[in-house]
Symmetry: C2
Subunit: 200 residues, 2 copies
């Protein structure tokens, strides 16, 4: 098969994450990563714009969300589109890679610049979902609320999945998180009622 | 009253926002701001760490959230604490200042660095609310969901308040947004049911 192997991207990613965990993100260089992976820096830059991109996977998740929303049958309710989307993301992007995802998260948390980038990615995902639903004719405010809630469920469920003692599937945890979110919102509604007398 | 006047902070803020709107955020300097306000740069730096802080008001809102949650009676349900908090923030920080808040928002949107900072402030607010509820004994996941939902309602309602043709009060719009969020979540739950057969 020669020098080029189809798993170069995965090998680079694994080498990078190992080095980030061993010696810190800031101290790790691209030549160190390629040396560990047994590949050239040229190959590295064919796959990643910089070492931060190893952790964030480019535009993959927002682009995936855009595609999933655009490809869903026109008759499918936005709610069903979201549930299907969460399932697809959980099963194709996260399930079976828990240790790697946890390591990734812990590296991101350890560096303020990476944490900022993570917020940007999160905002990009919400913007992609919002735009996708607006294209399907959903009202702007509803689209924004659906987008923010989806991102909240994804991020809160990801943490619960990474921090669990057991071995529950991410998608199951997402559904539980969605249920808890509804419960929390229901209580907020109740709170409004309890305070109604003071409200005017 | 001499050189010091109690409204220096407000005068600096007004001068800065006018200049940002007229000539752009990047092109505006602190000496230009103080010249327009008729104050010294020394006075400026007593009130603000840099020109960005004029737009973000320091840690005010996260600190306010921390205080409101800590000061709420122990018997008060988290939901009621949030509703009360949203009302206090709406009435003391935003109501009656719509033009100024809109100008602020548009300046922030126009500059990628400011937009990043806005995401950071938003994350700080969610973290303050989450920590406040954890201190009150709320479970970690529930606290995270309450915090994210509160921030979603605040930001989505703020945009709707700024972009409305009418003159509805921000707090009324927040309550409507909360209701829409519940509706959207209810539909997500329905979506789960509709897809139940395919779910395992």
């Amino acid at each position: 098969m020669g020098r080029w192997r189809p798993d170069a991207r995965e090998r680079l990613k694994q080498a990078a994450v190992e080095l980030f965990a061993e010696q810190g993100f800031a101290a790790t260089t691209v030549p160190q990563i390629t040396a560990r992976a047994g590949l050239t820096t040229r190959t590295f830059f064919r796959h990643f714009a910089d070492k931060r991109e190893v952790l964030f996977g480019g535009e993959e998740i927002p682009a995936m969300a855009t595609r999933l929303i655009a490809d869903a049958p026109a008759s499918l309710d936005p709610a069903a589109v979201i549930i299907e989307g969460l399932r697809t993301v959980a099963e194709t992007r996260f399930e079976g890679r828990r240790e790697e995802v946890r390591l990734n998260r812990d590296i991101i948390r350890s560096d303020p610049g990476l944490a900022e980038r993570d917020l940007r990615k999160r905002a990009d995902l919400a913007a992609a979902i919002r735009a996708g639903f607006i294209s399907r004719g959903v009202a702007v405010t509803t689209a924004a609320l659906l987008a923010e809630s989806t991102v909240t469920v994804l991020y809160v469920a990801l943490d619960a999945w990474l921090d669990q003692d057991g071995d529950r599937a991410l998608f199951e945890i997402m559904l539980g998180t969605l249920e808890s979110l509804q419960g929390a919102l229901g209580r907020m509604w109740l709170g409004r009622m309890l305070l109604g007398r003071r409200m005017r």
